[in-house]
């Protein structure tokens, strides 16, 4: 009688790891393609929408890069919090507060025009930190589960946003739930060459994070916290300080994502500017294994997915939630592949 035997794999070689990851991502994409075809997208259109139309068309490529900036920020933001063992699922809430704070600076005309945009950015960062500070405090002081608290706070933030947009902050010019348009100098400019300044901000943030996690004392400490707070503490690592700093950084990155969406893409506060970004941030961090630089690359790929998703919505009436579905399938496939990284499966013949 033959049977399956599992062995624990202590160490996997780098090529095996890379091949497995590639295979799992490919499998996830293949399953996603099958679902899309079942939902009525012609197979020939898939390759066209995803590869040709997004990468080899100057205008679409521009749109992808534009979309990439907030995704890089939420992805890196999720990654840094997960490293500090803080499950920040409140990315959407922090994005909303970041955008609300930036809009407040615009609405109440705080500061001279020259400084308006930096002030909006600063206000967003402070608001994002403040919004994550509550679940952080509750976790550190009272051991309240942050997965649930950050998620609940998303719904609170959303209702604050709707309260403002359907009330005091509604644009008097029309009856839609959005704020008045920002003035020209309140919008993130496009740099020469058509590159969005939001993308430059996002890449600068990732570069800083990469340095912080790889080369700084903070990053050295963070690796200990990630490996195990109890051991880290006994080794003299300032666990509390590192956790607080990483988590606040995460909140400020998510809020920055909210800021760049309203200040570069929408030009005003809208009721759905954050749709899809919070979930994507978490999934990007999972796929990038909480590495900020890897998160930037994954975010770029997700941006292609976003751009393709918008096309599919327009041309084939495929709901935008498809984007989330594909990301989730790829993450599940990649996570499932971990099993083979950690286990060796053997057939044993004969009596077991």
């Amino acid at each position: 009688m033959a049977r399956l035997v599992l062995d624990i794999r202590r160490e996997a070689s780098a090529p095996f790891h890379a091949a497995l990851t590639a295979a799992s991502v490919f499998a996830g994409l293949a399953i996603s393609a099958a679902i899309l075809i079942a939902a009525g997208v012609p197979p020939a259109a898939l390759a066209d929408e995803f590869v040709v139309a997004t990468l080899f068309d100057a205008q679409s490529l521009h749109a992808v890069l534009f979309q990439a900036a907030p995704l890089i920020m939420v992805g890196a933001g999720a990654a840094i919090a997960f490293r500090a063992r803080f499950w920040n699922l409140g990315l959407e809430g922090q994005m909303i507060w970041g955008a609300i704070a930036a809009t407040a600076v615009s609405l109440f005309e705080i500061g001279p025009p020259m400084l308006r945009l930096p002030l909006m950015f600063l206000a967003a960062i402070v608001a994002g930190m403040a919004w994550i500070a509550l679940p952080l405090l509750l976790k550190q002081r009272l051991a309240v589960n942050e997965i649930v608290s950050t998620l609940l706070l998303n719904y609170v933030a959303l209702n604050v946003l709707l309260h403002l947009l359907y009330g005091a902050w509604a644009d008097p010019k029309d009856s839609f739930p959005h704020s008045p348009l920002y003035r020209g100098f309140e919008r993130l400019p496009e740099l020469p060459g058509g590159i969005s300044s939001a993308l430059v901000l996002a890449l600068a943030a990732v570069a800083a994070l990469a340095w912080l996690t790889l080369a700084s004392r903070f990053g050295f400490h963070l690796r200990f916290v990630q490996a195990g707070p109890a051991v880290a503490r006994s080794l003299g690592v300032p666990v509390l300080g590192v956790t607080v700093a990483a988590t606040l950084l995460s909140g400020s990155l998510a809020a920055s994502a909210g800021f760049v969406i309203v200040a570069a893409q929408e030009g005003r506060l809208t009721q759905s500017f954050f749709t899809g970004y919070g979930v994507s941030g978490v999934l990007i961090a999972f796929l990038a294994r909480n590495n900020p630089a890897a998160a930037a690359i994954v975010a770029l790929l997700v941006a292609i997915l976003f751009a393709a998703g918008q096309n599919l919505q327009v041309f084939y009436q495929i709901p935008f939630a498809m984007v989330q579905l594909i990301q989730a399938i790829v993450v599940i496939a990649a996570a499932a592949a971990d099993f083979f990284l950690r286990h060796r499966v053997r057939w044993v013949k004969g009596i077991g």
Binding site: Y155, N159, Q324, A335
Partner: protein, 312 residues
């Protein structure tokens, strides 16, 4: 004032049922040691499948609820494979499942044209003269069938978990899978079945939201109730009857929101809509401050995969 209280109480149980059933399903999973963050996703699957059964199969409401249960259990097979068989990190797998279900239900709902179509749904079953009792009649005895069934479901599961041999083994698997394994309990099988059974109940909770209360499917219609149910399980300290009491409390708060506006009381709409989430958070904080939870409440092996080959 009496009218306000009467209509409030009359609506409370219908709001409490989804919380109660979802929390009960979560308790089954978690007592077996599987941390299930999937509730929000599986409720959506149950809600969509229930409406889909009515629209596509012309199923009667009760059958539609059963379809909702079955659909959630089916999707839960994937979750169980990931966390029980492949032993993945249960937080990552659970969150990925929620995002997967959100995307899937929204895609399927649109693709089949099930979105925003009103259905017949469950009807009220007044229990004879009892339903005419003042105040309590409408609150307790003029409800739909699932409200009446919730009590026996709780009684059955509570008995199963605490009084039966199966329940004892299931709790052993959640407290110490190594010991249970050594005693000859099939840890993998118990966990797998617990995930499926618990998820079916979570699916029933979702199907009740669409087929029983709202009588319509709308994308992301559970709007965070799955997360509230997870908080409720912590509040209930993994005990079924406490979960039922907590669910009624949450039902009270949620049913208050539409009543206040209907009674003509001036309150900002979106501030009122925050109430369930703020109260949930408040309860979590209060639990933590009052330290009502004891360390032994949480199943000891919650969230830990059982890897027999690493047994020490």
């Amino acid at each position: 004032m009496i009218d306000f209280v009467a209509s409030w109480l009359a609506a409370t149980l219908a709001y409490a049922v989804p919380y109660a059933l979802a929390a009960l399903g979560l308790i089954i999973c978690e007592r077996a040691g599987v941390l299930s963050l999937t509730a929000e996703g599986f409720m959506l699957v149950g809600a969509l499948a229930g409406v889909g059964a009515v629209l596509a199969l012309r199923a009667p409401p009760l059958a539609a609820l059963a379809v909702g249960m079955a659909a959630a259990a089916l999707v839960a097979v994937l979750f169980a494979l990931l966390v029980v068989v492949l032993r993945l990190n249960q937080v990552v797998a659970g969150l990925a499942m929620v995002f997967f279900c959100q995307g899937l239900t929204s895609l399927v709902g649109t693709a089949f044209g099930w979105t925003s179509k009103a259905i017949g749904g469950l009807t009220r079953l007044p229990l004879g003269p009892l339903a005419d009792l003042p105040l309590l009649g409408r609150a307790l005895f003029n409800q739909d069938i699932l409200v009446y069934l919730t009590l026996p479901i709780f009684a059955a599961i509570a008995w199963l978990l605490t009084r039966s041999m199966t329940g004892l083994r299931l709790r052993a698997v959640g407290e110490s899978p190594e010991a249970a394994d050594a005693a000859g309990v099939n840890v993998t099988a118990y966990r797998f079945v617990a995930v499926l059974a618990g998820s079916a109940l979570i699916g029933l909770a979702g199907a009740y939201i669409s087929v029983g209360s709202a009588k319509i499917w709308i994308q992301d219609m559970t709007s965070g109730r799955g997360w509230i149910a997870i908080a409720l399980v912590i509040f209930a300290r993994w005990r079924p009857w406490r979960a039922l009491a907590g669910a009624i409390l949450f039902g009270c708060i949620e049913s208050l929101v539409p009543r206040v506006a209907a009674a003509g009381i001036q309150a900002p709409r979106y501030v009122m809509l925050m109430l369930p989430y703020v109260v949930t958070l408040g309860v979590m904080v209060w639990m933590a401050v009052a330290r009502t939870g004891r360390p032994g409440d949480e199943p000891a092996a919650l969230g830990q995969p059982h890897v027999r080959e690493e047994r020490r």
